[in-house]
């Protein structure tokens, strides 16, 4: 039987590693890679919510993350079309 804590600690490790990856990870000069790296802490936070039984918060967080990724990708695409130096 797995302990409940394992989800919490996995989430914590994912959040910290993911935020480091987003700030100084390989290839983050490309904003697309940076945006995709933000998904790692998002998964970590989802696991933390799961540990605490925050169902509503978890569902809303998943929806909000999807929409935020959409907005960021739209901004990246539009800025690249404008020829801005990213």
């Amino acid at each position: 039987m797995l302990d409940v804590q394992i989800w919490f600690y996995t989430g914590c490790v994912l959040v910290i590693l993911g935020s480091i990856a987003t700030v100084v990870g390989p290839g983050v000069k490309d904003p697309l890679v940076r945006t995709l790296n933000t998904e790692i802490p998002a998964v970590g936070v989802s696991l933390i919510f799961l540990t605490y039984n925050h169902t509503l918060a978890l569902l809303t967080f998943i929806a909000a993350t999807a929409v935020i990724t959409l907005i960021l990708l739209r901004a990246i695409v539009r800025l690249e079309e404008l020829g801005v130096d990213l």
Binding site: V45, F49, Y52, L82, G83
Partner: protein, 223 residues
């Protein structure tokens, strides 16, 4: 110890870890922001700081904490939306581009499934959201609206479905308040109050997610 006895042992043992993880993540995110010169990267790193904020609130692990996470998420969403719009309009003004193509890609594909499938999926999502009601239903219905708008606008079709969205949102807000008031004024009508609150918050949340549709509509008007 100032923690009440009703709090489970598990939550108490995890609380310091949650706070430390929140502090470390927030520091990493803020340091990244302070070293960045690129505006877009700063916008993306704001997401990390938001994650740190969520861990702080989630660590309390009560129903109130869960309820506080929801407005936090909405605020974060609105913030990122607004900043990205500011960034885009500033670059457009700086480069003095007129007649800029505002829709990213208008695909020249002529397949029937591209016309019919978005409508069907949107209808299913909205119907399921209305069936669920409440906050979760609002998110799902809003996702359906958003999916419909995005898939239509990606093909360059005008979307004129959401003219009165702001008005509906205001009326839904009134339903929600009346529902809550009924709990206190007329406790025998609790079922009516519950339903009013549930469907009020449904329309409210759905229209919030559908706000992105208004953004695309504004772009069509500019054209």
């Amino acid at each position: 110890m100032i923690v009440p006895v009703q709090v489970p042992e598990l939550v108490v043992s995890l609380y310091p870890v949650a706070i430390w993880v929140g502090i470390i993540t927030g520091l990493i995110g803020l340091l990244g922001i302070s070293f960045q010169k690129n505006d877009l990267s700063v916008l993306i790193l704001t997401d990390i700081v938001g994650v740190a904020m969520l861990i702080f609130v989630a660590g309390v692990a009560t129903d109130l904490a869960e309820a506080l996470i929801l407005p936090g998420l909405v605020v974060e969403l609105a913030e990122i939306m607004a900043i990205s719009e500011i960034l885009l309009s500033r670059e457009i003004r700086k480069n003095n581009i007129s007649g800029e193509d505002l829709v990213p890609t208008a695909l020249p594909l002529n397949m029937e499934i591209l016309k019919t499938a978005p409508t069907f999926i949107a209808v299913v999502l909205i119907a399921y959201g209305v069936f669920l009601s409440g906050f979760t239903g609002g998110v799902i219905a809003g996702g359906g609206i958003l999916f419909y708008i995005l898939s239509k606008s990606a093909r360059g079709l005008p979307v004129e479905l959401f003219e009165g969205l702001a008005g509906a949102s205001g009326i839904a807000w009134v339903f929600w308040i009346v529902g809550f008031l009924l709990f206190f004024v007329g406790p025998p009508f609790w079922l009516l109050g519950l339903m009013l609150a549930a469907f009020g918050i449904l329309i409210k949340v759905a229209s919030k997610v559908g706000l992105i549709g208004i953004l695309t509509r504004e772009e069509f008007k500019k054209e």
